[in-house]
């Protein structure tokens, strides 16, 4: 069953190479993502019942436990949503003459290659193989980031590959040091195997292990978008096609975070407390939230804003795992799930908005609620959700993390410091909410027909020219004032299946904010125990 997870994407890629017609490609893509979802469902059931799924083949490198299952399920569900959404998205792009059939084929091949590498990263138990898979995610998604192949997309792709590869190289140094810290403890067959590393955690060389953790945090932190290393993220997420942005943000960041979580568990077990990892993770996490909050306040491009919001949420997850109490870890895992659902919802609806208005600039967009009857409200509600407003699910997980800051003693954090940290955390979350409200909510007001700057398809050529040279808003406004007779954007959804995806995602984050199904709860509790080493 488990190997089907590898076989299905491989077969899908082969079929994409062979078939000629677009609607077959769409059908194959949706069908294979449904098959993947069925496999993942069956495996999840086995993990909940048995604890781990492991096969003796090839030295037993395939390994699934509750922690990897949680994130693997995310990958597969979001990939399914992206596959369904892509059908309408690509057809619409093709209708505007942006895409050729050959490019659609390339898109699907790369997308399933990307999904395959992420599945691989989450289903192996060898740190070295996981490193390879995570580096491969960068390479598989490089051309997806640069898919529009204009100057901006190319710049984003170049930065993405260079920064992520160098960052990941640092993680490899960390993994080499991890390997070194275990020499003399582990035998040949179990080198770099984290089940063995965590079983013999007490015997590893602490000093080398600490150094290894720093490098792994820098390396996988680059990929997860934690702050000093985040610079590629806003570019890549804003330039990639929307379904890919949803995958990058909702899933890829979590996969990188997963590497950090595994290492944190081993290091904390070796050192006997979370003093060392906690300081680093909480520091880097708070820094990420603060930086993201500042950039959100001054953002002009809504896809970039969503990208900064991803940085913020990765920061929150880092803080949760830095605290390392049962409640905070549960909250952190729940937050990973909620963040991927909500962020995919936002990126997918942003994709619809972008296709409708043909612009990523916030000031050019008015009256989204009227022009897009599903994506508009979904985007608005998603914005409330992502900023942590009840009753959406992100509120629940953020509440868990905040109460963990105030409630439970974590060793090195004294009462006063904990209080200060909690207050700073809440204030920053408030700042993010204010930033989103100030910058984005104006998109929803007014109606586009009497807008000052009707962003319409008729001027899309002018728009495209302008995108290569960003100009001041006032200039553009003047230009458009003389052109106010231009026709407005026609209301209505173009991507029907995509709209259905948005509704499903919206219902999911609404329900999971109030009620967590017992199966998922059980899975999360098991995952928490794995991280805690219980």
């Amino acid at each position: 069953m488990g190997f089907l997870l590898y076989i299905i994407p491989v077969i899908a890629v082969i079929i994409f190479f062979l078939v000629k017609e677009n609607h077959y490609r769409h059908a194959v893509s949706v069908a294979s993502s449904i098959l993947l979802a069925v496999c993942a469902g069956a495996l999840t059931f086995r993990v909940i019942v048995n604890g781990v799924v492991i096969y003796p083949m090839l030295g037993g490198f395939f390994y699934l436990d509750a922690l990897s299952m949680v994130i693997l399920d995310m990958v597969i569900i979001i990939a399914f949503m992206a596959a369904v959404f892509s059908v309408g998205y690509l057809n619409e792009e093709k209708r505007h003459g942006q895409l050729t059939d050959k490019k659609i084929r390339l898109y699907y091949i790369l997308m399933y290659g990307f999904v395959l590498t992420m599945i691989l990263a989450l289903t192996v138990k060898n740190m070295g193989l996981m490193w390879i898979a995570i580096e491969a995610t960068t390479l598989a998604s490089a051309f997806l980031v640069g898919f529009n192949s204009d100057k901006h997309a190319l710049e984003a792709a170049f930065k993405y590959v260079i920064i992520c590869s160098v960052g990941i190289a640092m993680a490899l140094l960390g993994i080499i040091l991890l390997h070194w810290s275990s020499t003399g403890v582990l035998t040949d067959a179990s080198y770099l195997d984290w089940t063995a590393l965590s079983a013999h955690a007490g015997a590893l060389k602490s000093a080398v292990l600490r150094l290894a953790f720093i490098f792994i945090l820098i390396g996988f932190g680059t990929k997860a978008g934690l702050v000093p290393m985040h610079t590629w993220l806003p570019d890549a997420h804003s330039q990639a096609p929307s379904p890919i942005s949803a995958l990058l943000s909702g899933v890829l960041l979590n996969s990188a975070m997963y590497g950090i979580i595994r290492t944190t568990a081993i290091v904390n077990r070796n050192l006997g407390s979370n003093d060392f990892t906690g300081r680093l993770l909480i520091g880097i996490g708070i820094l990420s939230i603060a930086t993201a909050a500042l950039f959100i306040l001054t953002q002009k491009d809504y896809k970039r804003l969503l990208a900064y919001s991803s940085i913020e949420h990765m920061g929150i997850i880092a803080v949760a795992f830095g605290l390392f109490t049962p409640l905070s870890i549960f909250g952190g895992l729940l937050h990973m799930i909620n963040h991927s659902f909500t962020k995919s919802l936002l990126f997918l609806s942003a994709g619809n908005i972008m296709q409708k208005y043909d612009s990523k600039q916030i000031y050019k967009i008015r009256g989204v609620l009227k022009t897009l009857p599903v994506s508009g409200p979904a985007f608005l509600l998603g914005l409330f959700a992502i900023t942590g407003t009840p009753p959406f699910s992100i509120f629940t997980s953020e509440f868990c993390i905040i109460s963990a800051i105030f409630k439970e003693s974590t060793g090195w954090v004294y009462t006063g410091m904990r209080l200060g940290m909690g207050i700073a955390f809440i204030l920053l979350l408030g700042l993010v909410f204010a930033g989103v409200a100030v910058t984005l909510f104006r998109m929803f007001y007014g109606s586009d027909t009497n807008s000052l700057y009707p962003a319409v398809k008729d001027i899309s050529i002018a728009d495209r020219l302008e995108q290569s040279e960003p100009s001041e808003p006032s200039e553009t406004a003047d230009k458009y004032l003389g052109n106010s007779s231009a026709a407005a954007v026609k209301p209505g959804e173009t991507n029907k299946a995509g709209a259905l995806c948005l509704i499903i995602l919206l219902i999911t984050i609404l329900i999971s904010g109030i009620y967590l199904p017992p199966g998922i709860r059980e899975l999360l509790l098991q995952a928490r125990n794995i991280v805690m080493g219980l």
């Binding site: 204009d150 160098v166 080499i176 810290s181 330039q239 001054t298």
Partner: protein, 230 residues
């Protein structure tokens, strides 16, 4: 046969390995002192050859002592990939995007070399401070190979052209490889294999991106990549 026996002798082998690790560090300095992209590629090839030599010696040693073949296979792979295939690929990319020779580095070369010396001193002092490393016999080798990583990183910063940055990354990879080789006697074989596949894909993808950069921007100067901000 007697040569092999000498190499497989631990004390002599360690001396040879130590010398090779110093030579690899020197090749990193050599790379830093290069002015033209063609000579970057040559220096990279030299460094990879030295690494293949190291792997070969260690492979022979492990074959005689433990009967393991995998390091020798890795040595062959290094020669095929890093000495032949990747430099050839880079030369091809370079031929496609040939541009006028111009000043390519941020500071002049003596200053860059001085900074590299500083990086070696830096890695010596940081690593000497960590208990568990300072007492080990592989200390000098570790300092050398970690220095290669930092020099590779600095090389990426100091060069403005896309190809310079690709080579910088490859030098980082070489440094990582030699660290793994000398310090932990190699990673598990399957991990090495995967790293090679990743590396090859990286070079191919970056070659393509560089080519497209040249198309779109009429140069491969990464200073031009500053449209996306904020």
């Amino acid at each position: 046969m007697s040569d092999f026996a000498a190499v497989s002798d631990l004390a002599v082998g360690s001396k040879i390995l130590e010398t090779l690790s110093v030579l690899i560090l020197l090749s990193a300095f050599l790379l830093m002192a290069n002015k033209r992209i063609n000579s970057y590629i040559k220096s990279f090839r030299l460094q990879s050859f030295l690494i293949a030599l190291t792997a070969g010696i260690m492979g022979i040693r492990s074959l005689f002592n433990e009967g393991r073949w995998d390091i020798l296979i890795v040595c062959v792979l290094i020669i095929a990939l890093k000495v032949i295939l990747i430099p050839a690929r880079l030369s091809k990319t370079y031929a496609n995007v040939r541009y006028k020779v111009e000043k390519d580095f941020i500071w002049n070369i003596p200053i860059l070399i001085l900074v590299c010396c500083g990086l070696v001193v830096f890695s010596y002092f940081t690593l000497a401070g960590v208990e568990g490393i300072s007492g080990e016999s592989s200390n000098l080798q570790l300092v050398n190979s970690v220095s290669v990583i930092w020099i590779g990183l600095f090389f990426m910063i100091s060069r403005k052209k896309a190809i310079g940055q690709i080579i910088g990354f490859l030098v980082i990879e070489n440094g990582l490889y030699i660290t793994a080789m000398l310090v932990t006697h190699g990673m598990p074989f399957i991990v090495d294999l995967g790293i090679f596949i990743d590396l090859l894909t990286f070079v191919m993808i970056m070659g393509l991106i560089t080519f497209r950069l040249n198309d779109q921007f009429d140069s491969i100067d990464t200073d031009q990549l500053k449209n996306l901000k904020g």
